[in-house]
């Protein structure tokens, strides 16, 4: 599904991502962990196209997308959420979903569609997604007025709404209670069963080890270990990377 080769991103002298390579298999749930500042979010930005790499290549579904702009990658099936929630606070929850539906008009003649009927269909589709994440009753509230957890659910639903089959979640478990955490986990597992591939950055070790088929560990911009969760937990380099962080 995703193949990252020798990916490198330099900001001045800082190597945020340092010749990093790994793969995410189709249909898998792959975790991405590492100490703060390891380059996880930068890696997400590079894959989703918000940043251009200094070096290296990104392949999605066998295609080299390294030079593609972000919106083209989104249309090719990459969806994501952000570490700090980025919904559209002034829009209603349901409109946050509708804006994400694919097929933005490419041609001038599409600009003045959709008609009333098409709008109704979009609304029904959006309501179904909101229902799936359990916030259908908030559909007509401004997204900015939702609780933190509800915003998180909305953002995940929005990533799904793009029609993406490769979804990257940046810390889905951060700052939410256990009930909601379980709800998010169940939703991820359900979508995974339906065939969606997940790539998840997370600091909650129990959550990520529990949900992932495979875990990639990054430290100082480089992958230092790749393997099954149980292998990763016993990997001395991983333990060192985390303990090294503690020493500071």
């Amino acid at each position: 599904m995703l193949k990252v080769q020798n990916l490198h991103k330099q900001f001045g002298g800082v190597k945020a991502v340092n010749h990093c390579s790994f793969e995410v298999e189709e249909g898998s749930i792959t975790g991405l962990i590492g100490p703060n500042g390891a380059g996880k979010t930068t890696t997400f930005d590079l894959i989703s196209g918000l940043m251009k790499p200094t070096e290296g290549h990104i392949h999605i579904k066998g295609e080299d997308v390294t030079t593609w702009p972000a919106h083209k990658r989104a249309r090719a099936g990459i969806g994501r959420t952000f570490q700090a929630i980025r919904i559209f606070p002034e829009m209603k929850a349901i409109d946050n979903i509708i804006v994400a539906f694919p097929k933005h008009p490419d041609k001038l003649r599409d600009v003045f569609t959709p008609t009333r009927k098409k709008r109704e269909q979009l609304k029904v589709k959006a309501m179904k997604l909101l229902k799936d994440v359990g916030i259908a009753d908030k559909a007509h509230l401004n997204a900015g007025d939702l609780s933190y957890g509800q915003k998180k659910l909305l953002e995940i639903a929005r990533a799904v709404a793009t029609g993406a089959d490769f979804i990257m979640l940046d810390e889905p478990a951060a700052g939410i209670n256990l009930t909601l955490l379980n709800q998010i986990r169940d939703y991820i597992l359900k979508l995974n069963k339906e065939g969606k591939t997940f790539f998840i950055v997370e600091h909650n070790m129990q959550f990520i080890m529990d949900i992932s088929d495979k875990v990639v560990v990054m430290d100082q911009g480089k992958e230092i270990a790749i393997g099954k969760p149980e292998e990763i937990q016993n990997n001395p380099r991983v333990i060192e990377a985390y303990l090294g962080k503690k020493k500071e």
Partner: protein, 299 residues
């Protein structure tokens, strides 16, 4: 005094419509790119000259002329954005602002080159405008004013429906809110900004035709128009489209009422309008519809 009231109201409406058309473009561009486009008034000036070229010199029927003005202006907006503003999109907002001043000067130079620097008029010699007298002769309205008002109302209604109901309208709001997020949802930022410029430039160009229909054409006519549209945007609350329209109406009405109903000479009208603006901003520092911006800043 009362007998001139209908005429003053009509002139106020005309002026307000003109300012609103320019102010909406300013507000749309500011909403996404966060700079004040000082060339907006010059877009109007170009529109006025294009109409002159197509209809007065070229002899095309007026309605084809208006359609051509809208199309050519929209294309011009897209091209100008691509070659001047797009390369500096990630720069601080004062850089595109300075560039927009340059764009305005360039447009003026091109129009002088094409049409010459002398003052021009839509009224050809010997022609007589068709005038309707209403309210027992207290209100005279020309056919072209009525037509242009309908064109404006149609454009504003179309814009409203477009922004509110089309997917592109939603995309524009998404891009205005957060370009990164819009991009990862599959919205093309370049295309959306292109559409914004096309719409903003076309609206300004129609405003230019309207004002040239009332006054004469001159190369520098865009200046005061741009400044008043800017004032309308500030008055209404920067970034708010309804605010820009309300601001345009406040300015359009106050300047015509001051000139029409008080002994103050018309040469003072701009000074008084801007004095009012200062007072309004004392009372509403964020503009009339700008409360949300303040909330956001505090949050």
């Amino acid at each position: 005094m009362l007998e001139i009231l209908p005429q003053i109201i009509w002139f106020s409406l005309l002026a307000s419509a003109i300012y609103a058309l320019v102010a909406i473009g300013l507000s749309l561009i500011f909403g996404i790119l966060e700079f004040i486009n000082f060339a907006q008034g010059d877009f109007a000036m170009v529109g006025a000259y294009l109409f002159f070229g197509f209809v007065i010199e070229g002899g095309l029927p007026w309605w084809i002329g208006i359609a051509m003005v809208v199309i050519v202006a929209a294309l011009m907006g897209v091209v100008i954005e691509r070659i001047t503003f797009k390369p500096v999109r990630k720069s601080p907002p004062f850089i595109p602002l300075v560039i927009s001043i340059g764009v305005g000067a360039l447009l003026q130079a091109i129009m002088i080159f094409k049409f010459g620097g002398s003052v021009k008029s839509y009224r050809t010699e010997g022609s007589k405008a068709e005038v309707y007298k209403l309210f027992g002769d207290t209100l005279s309205v020309t056919q072209s004013q009525i037509t242009l008002m309908f064109v404006t109302a149609g454009l504003l209604l179309g814009l409203y429906l477009f922004l509110k109901y089309s997917k592109t309208g939603t995309a524009i709001r998404a891009v205005a809110d957060n370009q990164d997020v819009a991009a990862i949802l599959g919205v093309s930022i370049n295309k959306t900004i292109g559409i914004i410029f096309a719409v903003g430039t076309a609206l300004a160009a129609v405003a230019g035709v309207m004002i040239a229909n009332e006054q004469n054409l001159s190369i520098t006519m865009g200046l005061s128009l741009g400044v008043k549209a800017f004032a309308a945007v500030v008055l209404g609350g920067v970034g708010s489209l309804p605010g820009a329209i309300v601001g345009a109406f406040i300015i359009g009405f106050s300047e015509n009422f001051i000139v029409g109903l008080t002994p103050i000479p018309s040469s003072y009208k701009d000074a008084i309008v801007f004095g009012l603006l200062i007072i309004m901003l004392f009372l509403y520092p964020n503009g009339l519809f700008g409360a949300k911006a303040e909330e956001e800043a505090r949050a």
